[in-house]
């Protein structure tokens, strides 16, 4: 029994010791990791949906509270010579195999979408996963804020056989549009508008 107790004690203590160390390390690296994740996961998507900027949208990101809700949204601005060209924000909806993450870019000048990019998704390979393909996402480039699938009377062609995935991504864009519209005043306040 004594040996058993010692076993338990040693294992527990070692676990405890390392947990503190690790937690400390986690605290210390947390902000840096976030930065890295944004740079390497969201960064490429932002580059796809925004263009013509000369700043780093990830470094200049800001968080806004959506009016009327508690939700906080990270917005990535595209600036040129300090003036705001457009913004990008990421939204998530439930897809076929899990969350579909969509980075949606907005043109401040024309009030329409500058493009979208899929950041994360776990759709069925070869079918739903085609939403990430160029053919699907490019439809959104310079599209008006009013997006809808053709099946529902809109102008976006869904992926054949992957209704759920197509709907999910369109829903995400719609969500982003509504958020954008709600926080637009705050955005223009935060960065000097270019137009």
């Amino acid at each position: 029994m004594k040996e058993g107790l010692k076993m338990i004690a040693v294992l527990t203590l070692i676990c405890g010791m390392f947990s503190v160390t690790l937690a400390g390390l986690k605290e210390a690296t947390e902000s840096r990791i976030e930065e890295q994740v944004l740079t390497y996961v969201q960064g490429p998507a932002i580059n796809q949906v925004l263009s013509g900027f000369d700043n780093s949208p990830v470094t200049d990101r800001m968080k806004f509270t959506v009016h009327g809700t508690e939700e906080r949204v990270t917005v990535f601005p595209a600036l040129k010579e300090g003036l705001l060209l457009g913004v990008a924000l990421e939204t998530f909806t439930k897809g076929h195999g899990g969350e579909v993450g969509v980075m949606v870019g907005f043109n401040l000048s024309g009030e329409n979408l500058s493009g979208i990019a899929i950041t994360t998704m776990k759709e069925t390979p070869g079918i739903g996963a085609r939403i990430a393909g160029h053919g699907f996402t490019s439809q959104f480039k310079d599209h008006s804020m009013d997006v809808e699938l053709t099946s529902k009377g809109g102008s976006i062609e869904g992926i054949a056989g992957a209704t759920t995935s197509s709907t999910a991504s369109v829903e995400a864009v719609k969500q982003a549009v509504s958020i954008f519209q709600k926080i637009k005043p705050q955005i223009t306040q935060a960065w000097p508008g270019g137009s």
């Binding site: 058993g4 107790l5 076993m7 338990i8 294992l11 527990t12 070692i14 676990c15 405890g16 390392f18 947990s19 503190v20 690790l22 937690a23 400390g24 986690k26 605290e27």
Partner: protein, 702 residues
């Protein structure tokens, strides 16, 4: 977050450790604590080399006593000692096991086809079972060499694997790898216990030998000058090599393949040479014995069968006691075979060597008179071997047999052996054609008598050794063939004076295959005789098995009034009683008795250790037909060395000096060089073997 992490991880660690600790208590399988200790000292590599499922399995086996402290093949002596320390076992007592190659063929073994596939025996074996003609022979591609983890096997120059005894750890990898079963892991005990099987590599001589001595191997050793090696090889099957070197009727030489070239190899002369070499140099080579078991076994009868059985039991680690009715050990060797064939001092030297292994002896104790089996059982003996021989003479079944001057051959020879030669007068008639009859006749010659030997068939039918018959004729024994006694003529005092005989002719063959002699009416004749020695039909004396006043005894006999014993195990109708030698077979050769002694020892060993007597179904029972060739080609003639004789003339017929002599070293060299080194079907040719392909065993393709 730090707090969360701390709590979760500590909780997890605590839970895991607690569950395991509790589980190890609740789910504790009652195990010998030594299993864990043994496992701790094993290397823990789970390599499986020991043949058990991992180190835990090996530890289990050790603790259960299924395996010794040297279970681990890779751990070496340190591990063995550590395991031994845990188990309290003496490590050094463990019997050494080594890989052993049975096949001797190698490159001289003929090939059925020219194989050019992958250089691996197992690959070759997939193709019609391999290219060698011999179904059991080594294919020689060295798979064993490749699998040996200890670098202990190397392919020798003859295309056969050579095991390095120092490097071999008996891991069995080679045994498993060999598709032909050429290699086996054997200890000394295993060799002693092995009953020859038809798929062993057995030369005809070894098959024929009643004791299955590995003849080619000892001749090979003798040829290489390794006389001690030869002696040890013989001792694996026959502890009485001095005796057999002198008196063996050598059935092996009958089937020697060399008989198809010229004459058989003088196998027994070679045996005698190495046996004499040991005795003359008074070497007393060390005879290894297995670890003491302390099991007591009574060996009743100190003749060749009893001596052999006691010898092998002792070497297997048991404690036999020989109980002998006569004042000295040796049985028929001492009391039946005359001095001129087997000098008593040589016999004594040989017996002493066996007793020196640690065998107890009780002399002058006769079964049934001085003790019974029940007495011995109460004394703590666990098994019994009956090697009581065949000492009772058959009767001639003629009138006047009770007359004074009529004695049996065994009686006569025993008297001589005891140093009390009976008064036999001048004219002696010996009746019978066996070795006992010849021995009696030749002994009588040496006592200065005029000896006539009466046999009811012809010389060709005499069961005695040809050399013996010739020797008797040389010494002046007169033979009367085709003549049978009908009546003993007595004088008034009841003393025999003449023997009346009738001539016979040979009729139809009887059960034994010999032609039955039929008397010819009216041909009676009388021969004068002071003494008539009847040397016919010895039988075991079975009266000792009957307790006084009882008709029945609980041991079964055959209809020839010998002890009934299982032919392969020699077990009698009483499970713990075994019997062998003349008592079972009727009068037979020394070497048969020696072989029976070993078989009985094997049976007793198994019965005492594992409770049953295992028998392979491919045990060698008769000669393997395809090994007996009609002709042996490719060999030049080499004359057989004549038997050297020590004495001649008067010296020979008037003294009991030993007649036959021993080879010289040169003669030995010549004789061993005549051996064809036969394997199962291979043998040494003078011509090289290249391009000799055969399509059927033993037959050459033209």
């Amino acid at each position: 977050m730090i707090l969360n992490s701390l709590l979760v991880l500590m909780g997890l660690g605590f839970t895991a450790a607690t569950i395991l600790a509790v589980a190890s208590k609740i789910l504790h399988v009652k195990e010998d604590p030594r299993i864990a200790q043994v496992e701790d000292v094993l290397p823990g590599v789970n390599c499986g080399g020991c043949g058990y499922a991992g180190c835990n399995g090996a530890a289990n086996a050790v603790v259960e006593g299924k395996s010794g402290a040297n279970v681990c093949v890779i751990g070496g002596i340190e591990t063995a000692q550590a395991v031994g320390a845990v188990m309290g076992l003496e490590v050094l007592d463990m019997e050494l096991e080594l890989a052993f190659r049975d096949c001797t063929g190698g490159q001289r073994a003929e090939e059925l086809f020219n194989y050019e596939g992958a250089g691996n025996c197992r690959a070759q074996a997939l193709l019609y079972g391999g290219a060698k003609t011999c179904p059991e022979g080594c294919l020689g591609l060295g798979t064993c060499e490749a699998v040996c983890p200890f670098d202990a096997i190397h392919m020798g120059p003859e295309g056969l694997p050579v095991v390095d005894p120092l490097a071999c750890r008996a891991c069995r990898k080679c045994v498993e790898a060999c598709p032909r079963g050429v290699l086996s892991i054997v200890s000394m005990s295993a060799k002693l216990l092995h009953l020859e099987e038809v798929n062993d590599c057995l030369a005809p001589c070894q098959q024929k030998c009643p004791a299955n001595i590995n003849i080619p191997r000892y001749i090979e050793a003798a040829k290489n000058g390794d006389y001690a090696g030869a002696v040890n090889i013989i001792r694996e099957r026959n502890p009485l090599l001095l005796v057999c070197g002198r008196v063996c009727p050598r059935p092996c030489e009958l089937d020697c393949r060399r008989t198809h070239v010229d004459e058989a190899v003088g196998i027994n002369m070679i045996k005698r040479f190495v046996a004499d070499w040991e005795m003359n140099n008074n070497l007393r080579l060390h005879i290894p014995c297995a670890k003491e078991t302390g099991r007591k076994i009574a060996v009743i009868g100190g003749g060749p069968a009893g001596l052999s059985c006691a010898n092998f039991l002792r070497r297997l680690g048991h404690s036999p006691t020989i109980i002998e009715a006569m004042p000295e050990l040796g049985g028929q060797l001492r009391y039946g075979i005359p001095e001129y064939r087997l000098p008593k001092k040589d016999l004594a030297w040989e017996i002493q060597g066996i007793l020196d292994l640690g065998i107890d002896v009780r002399l002058n104790q006769k079964l049934g008179t001085n003790f019974t089996i029940n007495d011995l059982e109460e004394e703590g003996f666990e098994a019994f071997f009956m090697g009581i021989g065949a000492w009772a003479s058959g009767t001639m079944r003629i009138d006047g047999e009770k007359a004074q001057g009529v004695i049996s051959g065994t009686e006569f020879l025993t008297g001589i052996g005891l140093g009390q030669p009976p008064n036999i007068g001048d004219n002696v008639i010996v009746v019978g054609g066996g070795n006992t009859a010849i021995d009696a006749a030749r002994t009588s010659i040496r006592l200065g008598c005029d000896v006539t030997l009466l046999y009811r068939r012809t010389r060709a039918e005499m069961p005695a050794n040809i050399e013996e018959i010739e020797g008797a004729a040389d010494e002046g024994v007169k033979f009367i063939f085709l003549s049978a006694p009908t009546k003993v003529i007595m004088d008034d005092k009841g003393k025999a004076t003449h023997l009346e005989c009738i001539s016979m002719e040979l009729g139809e063959p009887d059960d034994s295959g010999r032609r039955r002699p039929v008397p010819i009416e009216g041909t009676e004749e009388r021969y004068p005789a002071d003494t008539i020695i009847s040397a016919i039909g010895q039988k075991p004396q079975l009266s000792c098995f009957y307790t006084e006043g009882e008709e029945q005894c609980n041991i079964d006999f055959t209809r020839w009034r010998t002890i009934d014993a299982h032919p392969q195990t020699l077990q009698t109708s009483i499970p713990m009683v075994f019997a062998g030698g003349d008592a079972v077979s009727g009068p037979d050769s020394v070497i048969s008795a020696v072989g029976a002694g070993r078989i009985a020892a094997r049976s007793i060993h198994y019965l005492l250790t594992i409770g049953k007597i295992p028998l392979a179904d491919n045990t060698l029972r008769r000669l393997i037909p395809y090994t007996l060739f009609k002709d042996v080609d490719g060999c030049k003639n080499k004359t057989r060395t004549p038997m050297p004789h020590n004495c001649s003339g008067d010296d020979r017929i008037s003294t009991f000096k030993e007649i036959e002599g021993c080879l010289t070293e040169e003669e030995l060299q010549h004789e061993t060089s005549r051996c064809l080194r036969c394997g199962l079907i291979c043998y040494d040719r003078d011509i090289p073997l290249e391009n000799v392909f055969t399509n059927r065993v033993g037959e050459k393709v033209e």
